[in-house]
Amino acid sequence: MAKVNIKIEGIPYQVEEGLTILEAAKLCGYNIPSLCAYNHGECSRGSCRVCLVEVKGARGLVASCVYPVNEGMEITISSPAAVAARRASVELLLSNHSKDCQQCDKNEYCELLYAAKVTGARDGMFEGVKTPATIDQITPSIVRDTSKCILCGRCIERCKSAHGKSVLGFEKRGFNTIVGPAENRSFADSPCILCGQCTTVCPTGALMEKSEIDAVDAAFKAGKYVVVQTAPAVRAALGEEFGMKIGTPVTGKMVAALKRLGFKKVYDTNYAADLTIMEEATELLGRIKNNGVLPMITSCSPGWINYAEMNYGDLLPHLSSCKSPHEMFGAILKSYYCEKNGIDPKDMFVVSIMPCTAKKFEKDREQLQHDGIKDVDAVLTTRELGKLIKRSGINWNMLPDEEFDNDIVGDYSGAGVIFGVTGGVMEAALRTAYHALTGKEHELIKFEQVRGFDGIKEASLDINGTTVNVAVAHGMKNAKVLLDDIRAGKSKYHFIEIMGCPGGCINGGGQPYVKPQFLPNEDPDILDTYKAKRAAALYSEDERQAVRQSHNNPQMKKLYDEFLGEPNSHKAHELLHTSYKAREAFK
């Protein structure tokens, strides 16, 4: 790449041609105040005017996020005119903003508030009429409040890259412009799959998860037997809420914190991930043996289930009938566990800590409750757990490492841990399927082909003369490719893993925000590396486990012997399996 000579604040630098001023300045050590500098330009580009700088010879100030550097360019960031213009840009954004910052759950991570701080924006400079606002809190997963939207369009770009066909878009014009699903509908009546990816990139509080902390508080107050379980991906990211480096596994501290928050039992959802594998691998082998519907597709990701029901109703028989792991755990807790411990299931309240916003919707599905008793009663995101811990006054750094409860349930294998990253369910299933077909453990344990972050991964495995073709996709955009092949009758696979979010659960819509301006101690390329760092935390926990295959989890054998009979038995079907229903995207 050719280099060009530029000057910033009079100091000469050599930078690559083709970079924008904003990017070039960042490499030279200047963070020009902006709302997108930290986000790969995942926005509508040049519209917010927060990053204005002076360029010698240019007509007026230029938006550094879209203006490319060229030979001999002289840039001034801190000229009085540029400083005043950036401040005015933020003040104008604030003039059409609801500004209830103190109650806003995003305030700690609000990029607009941060931009206001660094530019010195003052409140009330341009008071006037405000754009009519929409507050959509109909779904159990995501709240959209357009009074906080700054029209950056980042959510639209993220939705495009994750979902494929963006559910969100700009609508209307000029002062009346808003961002939302077509017709400014609620997410509930739109093709939204509730994955929550938009909430992770929204710079303000315009898009956030719907909190269920109040429901948990109410359960404690009512004297319920409150049990909590945590998904694998949570431990790989929760530390970020307390300033720890991305990728630090915090299993022990997380458990210690939950025990101090008053939960009767603190379990690992991994136990149920192992159970899922027992059921799912058996289902797969049954389908292969009996010429059932193939390829079979995993059903752990509720975002993916929403997508399938709305877009591929004809392919629903391909979905595994297995409930997702935390739902299985809920069902076992409210049957087996309650039975053994003499608890009335009505008095039990199961809380799931999930990296996911779609799980909030999933727990309310009518297919996942029996006689009015839900398998899972409340779902909190990783971010909400962070809030719960902060609220309690617990000093995170002083927490010891403690162990998950493990009595008649709760033990887990390494296979369960890797569910949290794309390819993990596949790898866990292969470990057990291999054993079921050969009676031996696969010597490698690791199945490298299904690891990593390629959009679509595939592998072929020869098991006792049977070739099993598998594929893994994450993000609906990638999944669509595999699904269209199935529809066209061209799919060669036996088993497909699909996760709603790009990267899998470690990058779920409920995970801590990765906003570099609030992470001064992370590497500059953190937006490109955080997924791999969180994934590494899970893979390392898998390696530390003595037992790494679901079928070798000693409690699985016990559960089947004492309660369920065998995998896919009648009782297992009743408790651990579910059904799906095609529905219209636009109701």
Partner: protein, 160 residues
């Protein structure tokens, strides 16, 4: 999508396929549909989305951005009053107010009998004959408030 007739579905599919090889076909497709049906409801947008792969949200954004496109059926006669700068200073606001009063509808609305739609337009490039009104392409120059009742009557009686 259920209440679109088969003929309409076929025609919209045909319109979409006219521009199959265009890199950015959306404006042309919407423009043809608008001309053909006079409006582009959500069901039609869903159909265009299926054919082109462009999301409904994006299509809806385009339809609501340009005033040429409409989400609701327009009347038999579309009264477009120019409110551009030249027309405005020549009294266009009074003209549109008179139309509004006589037709019983606000700008952007369609009368209950489906006969008239009143639109407030920005500059239509006819500043020399300000204030100008365009009804289904027929331009009325240098209008004054007193001209309005006669014009409305003419269209009501179908004398055009």
């Amino acid at each position: 999508m259920s209440h679109l007739s088969e003929a309409a579905v076929a025609q919209i599919n045909e319109i979409c396929s006219r521009y199959e090889n265009e890199p950015t076909p959306l404006m042309m497709i919407l423009s043809d549909i608008q001309k053909e049906y006079g409006y582009i409801p959500l069901e039609v947008q869903e159909l265009v989305s299926d054919k082109t792969g462009i999301s409904v949200a994006e299509i809806y954004g385009v339809v609501t951005f340009y005033s040429f496109f409409s989400l609701k059926p327009k009347g038999k006669y579309v009264v477009g009053c120019c409110l551009g700068t030249a027309c405005y200073v020549k009294g266009a606001q009074n003209v549109i107010d008179k139309f509004s009063e006589l037709l019983g509808i606000k700008p952007g609305e369609t009368s209950d009998d489906g006969l008239f739609t009143l639109d407030a337009l920005r500059c239509i490039g006819a500043c020399g004959i300000a204030p100008a009104v365009s009804i289904n392409g027929q331009v009325y120059p240098k209008l004054s408030v007193s001209d309005v009742p006669g014009i409305v009557e003419k269209y009501r009686k179908g004398e055009v």
